[in-house]
């Protein structure tokens, strides 16, 4: 990649980025000076009159966090310590629970449990709120603090209290921390089809995809009919990896463009020649947990008609966060600096990627899901998307009386075999 800075497009904390050094801007306008004076006045009142003395550092940390996190759900502040932790975290593995989380009004909310982790095994779900850790409520603490409380030595125990919309009352879940490996690409053969699941986008994802395709070709041989690329519940990660994955499957054309307010935030990424799947049919699976970098891949393959996208409309996180370090010792901002657009020029922000064929898994109408449908457009303070007349097509549903382990996958496999299923109630 020819950019100095990698940018993070994870829907959540935990997928880190490299660092962009940016010269500080000076030259506020009169209006902003008045606002800074107002801040000083409030700061001064708290220093003098609050019931106990509070350190300036604490006041300013909370102020910066309040300023930044009020902008949108994905921007936040890391103080010097949190910033250091982040640098360590990007270097390797850590003990944790395997939850992708975000914060809403002071509560920690689960975006998705990561496959094959303690959180996934314990049955935690998208949309759950974490109300407490080890019996202590965590409302109001910063997301980074909450994450660091959930992390710890592998093998140690932690109890989290879950508020599940629609559940009668909060309940406790006891978990044992495990090494959360940076998620590996998973794949297996489904008859004459290759199934590849990308759980996230990290430094190893593109490499993992290439390995999976090579191995599936070898296993299945020349009769290989096509691939299923499963991006369901993939919350995103590194932009560069999303670009590389798209590039692997495309022969040419645009992948994604980013647009911000500074020249450095405007970029266009194009595919180079070469499709590692030799033009075989691809079905991409998406759902409401498909966010950010995943949506770039789905959007690029859909716009190019390289793949048929099936499942449910994706999350709609079409913004890019960049880690912007402040002066040494001052921590860093994780700030939304750009929106991204699919090759046909659509913003994903708040709208998500609509599938070519809507296929329901069957669990979308749980009371919990209905009450708290998880998507960018539902997040308080989300960036506005483009106006668009949404044509909601009723999704294909599993026929009644038949049991499916994974209806969307079954549908995808049938589609690749050229015999799409009929919907249970479509007429």
């Amino acid at each position: 990649m020819n950019r100095i800075a990698l940018v993070s497009v994870g829907a959540a904390a935990g997928f880190a980025a490299a660092f962009m050094l940016f010269p500080m801007a000076h030259g506020a306008t009169d209006g902003s000076y008045h606002q800074l004076d107002l801040f000083r006045a409030a700061f001064d009142l708290v220093r003098k009159d609050y019931v106990r003395p509070v350190s300036d550092t604490e006041l300013v940390n909370n102020s910066i966090e309040g300023m930044v996190s009020g902008l949108d759900p994905h921007s936040s502040y890391m103080d010097a310590k949190a910033f250091n932790d982040l640098k360590i975290q990007t270097t390797g593995q850590f003990g944790g629970l395997g939850l992708e989380v975000t914060q809403e009004d002071g509560l920690v909310k689960v975006i998705a449990p990561i496959d094959d982790t303690p959180a996934a095994h314990a049955g935690l779900k998208t949309g759950d709120f974490i109300g407490g850790i080890d019996g202590v409520p965590i409302q109001g603490i910063s997301l980074d603090d909450a994450i660091s409380k959930m992390r710890g030595q592998p093998g140690t125990k932690v109890t989290i209290t879950i508020l599940r919309p629609g559940a009668k009352k909060p309940f406790d879940v006891a978990l044992t921390r495990a090494v959360i490996a940076v998620d590996a690409v998973k794949y297996h053969r489904e008859g004459d089809l290759g199934y590849i699941r990308l759980p996230t986008f990290n430094e190893k994802t593109d490499q993992g995809l290439e390995q999976a395709v090579r191995d599936l070709k070898r296993q299945i041989g020349p009769g290989l009919k096509g691939y299923v690329l499963d991006l369901r519940n993939n919350p995103g990660g590194l932009l560069d990896e999303a670009v590389a994955v798209s590039d692997d499957l495309l022969n040419s054309g645009g992948i994604v463009t980013t647009k911000g307010r500074t020249a450095g935030d405007n970029s266009r990424y194009d595919a180079r020649g070469g499709d590692i799947t030799d033009g075989k049919p691809i079905v991409v699976l998406i759902n409401a947990g498909t966010a950010s970098a995943s949506e770039i891949v789905a959007g690029a393959l859909k716009d190019d008609k390289r793949a048929t996208v099936i499942g449910m409309t994706s999350f709609g996180k079409g913004s890019v966060q960049t880690i912007l370090p402040l002066q040494p010792g001052n921590g860093a901002l994780r700030l939304t600096t750009a929106r991204y657009y699919t090759p046909s020029g659509h913003s994903i922000q708040a709208l998500g990627i609509a599938p070519d064929i809507a296929v329901a898994q069957g669990d979308e109408n749980d009371a919990a899901t209905k009450l708290q449908r998880e998507s960018e457009a539902n997040l308080p303070g989300h960036l506005a998307g483009e106006k668009q007349n949404k044509k909601e097509v009723p999704p294909v549903k599993a026929p009644a009386g038949k049991k499916f382990d994974d209806f969307q996958l079954s549908y995808a496999l049938d589609l690749l075999h050229g015999k799409p299923m009929k919907s249970a109630d479509a007429n």
Partner: protein
């Protein structure tokens, strides 16, 4: 009445647990950076972040929004009761103190991210619509309330009388959340209720407002007339009383005390350190008093319980109170043009110097309720001490020992076990067990 005492202060202070009992305005001069030398570095860090956001954020941010976010972040992390009122919220409060505002008549809590009905107020749209205690308000007008703080929830509930609001209710035992449409109305402030229980007078104070002292005085006069000279004592029920105006708490304590300190406040500003005393005269003429408290007894209620306990004027029964012993002052910024700071500026101390903050009032005789649900998660048994960033008591006193509560007889059914126990205690019908309990826990004031 201690009205003159309160008016002497520039700031009236808000001591509601958060049930919407509000405050007057402290008109304090805003001090501009005269002693800020030491904090220049911290402010520079803030300025640096401010500039980076203005330069790089995906959209041109509004300076005003950024600074409101910053002040909000600074305030709300101080403790669970401090917050920033933006100009609109501040204007709403001003309107509310003038009594023009409508509401739904629900006392709610939102301390752990779940908005829960503490009590529907009798004869209000909320109770008429069938909203029940412990219902969870999961959404208002279709907007989720999970994780919202009390200020945000109250702003959504309030509106002009006659306007409509839809609450989505999650109720234990009901499978799916359901919607309840409510027309807002002017909410009559809750009044003191009383009744005769044999030879004992029962007085219930649901909240402390401007009418509470007069209500208690009237109740006692009437109970004396009803029961006559054989009156054995009084029960003052402060259970689930979330607080209210300070003058009400002082006046009610004063009514039962013959003199001495009621409560004192201590803060960093000189005007936040103050002591309130009772005048001579006990309208209950020294008859025994039992005060009932529970985990919903907060703030102004805890002042009354603490004062009567320390002076040994009353036996406190029930379960440990909430522990909200802090005072918030509202300071407008730029004359309110830029909103106001709602900030904790002092702690309350009982006459013996105990801080109510986080510790609460420990009953002299612990008596369990027959309504307690042992399965409830800690998240629903809210007390100040489990709130994140709660203020510490700062009185260097060990918390009072808590004894095992007297429990209802599982073989019997009770309408209100704590009340039955209190009545039995006052009319002498409760036997040895109560006496034993008094011996072991009666030294509550020390």
């Amino acid at each position: 009445m201690r009205t003159e005492m309160a008016l002497k202060r520039v700031a009236l202070i808000s001591i509601g647990m958060g049930a919407g009992f509000c405050a007057g305005l402290a008109l304090l001069p805003i001090a501009y950076g005269d002693d800020l030398a030491g904090s220049q570095k911290a402010l520079q860090r803030f300025g640096e972040a401010y500039n980076v956001v203005r330069e790089r954020y995906v959209e041109q941010p509004e300076d005003k929004t950024m600074i409101e976010g910053a002040i909000n972040g600074m305030m709300s992390n101080l403790d669970p009761h401090s917050s920033y009122f933006d100009p609109k919220a501040f204007a709403d409060i001003t309107v509310k103190t003038e009594g023009q505002y409508g509401g739904v008549g629900l006392v709610i809590s939102a301390e752990t991210g779940v908005v829960k009905v503490v009590q529907p107020i009798d004869d209000t749209p909320g109770s008429r619509a069938g909203i029940k205690k412990d219902d969870i308000i999961s959404a208002i007008d279709g907007v989720t309330m999970m994780g919202k703080n009390l200020d945000q929830v109250q702003q959504k509930l309030r509106g002009l009388a006659g306007s409509k609001v839809t609450l989505t209710i999650t109720r234990a035992g009901v499978k799916d959340p359901f919607d309840v449409k409510i027309v807002r109305a002017a909410i009559q402030v809750e009044s003191v209720k009383y009744k005769r229980e044999g030879d004992v007078g029962y007085i219930r104070i649901p909240a402390f407002n401007e009418q509470t002292v007069a209500g208690v005085e009237h109740a006692i006069r009437d109970l004396k007339a009803q029961i006559g000279p054989g009156i054995k004592g009084y029960i003052v029920d402060l259970r689930d009383d979330g607080g209210g105006v300070l003058e009400g708490a002082i006046g009610v304590s004063d009514a039962f005390l013959d003199g001495g300190e009621v409560v004192s406040t201590r803060g960093r500003r000189p005007q936040d350190t103050e002591r309130y005393d009772a005048k001579a005269g006990d309208i209950a003429e020294g008859r025994p008093v039992v005060v009932l408290v529970n985990g919903g007894t907060a703030s102004a209620s805890e002042i009354v319980a603490g004062a009567l306990q320390d002076h040994k004027r009353a036996i406190i029964m029930g379960t440990t109170s909430f522990g909200k012993g802090s005072v918030q002052t509202i300071t407008p910024l730029d004359n309110g043009e830029e909103g106001a700071l709602h900030m904790t500026t002092a702690r309350y101390f009982t006459p013996s110097g105990r801080s109510i903050q986080a510790t609460g009032i420990v009953p002299d005789i612990a008596v369990a309720s027959n309504k307690d649900d042992p399965d409830e998660s800690i998240l629903f048994n809210e007390t100040e001490s489990i709130l994140p960033h709660h203020l510490l008591p700062d009185d260097n006193k060990p918390p009072l020992a808590q004894t095992a509560p007297i429990k209802p007889d599982p073989a019997k059914t009770y309408d209100d076990f704590q009340l039955s126990y209190a009545v039995g205690y006052l009319d002498g019908k409760t036997k040895s067990r109560a006496v034993a309990a008094t011996k072991t826990t009666g030294a509550g004031g020390n």
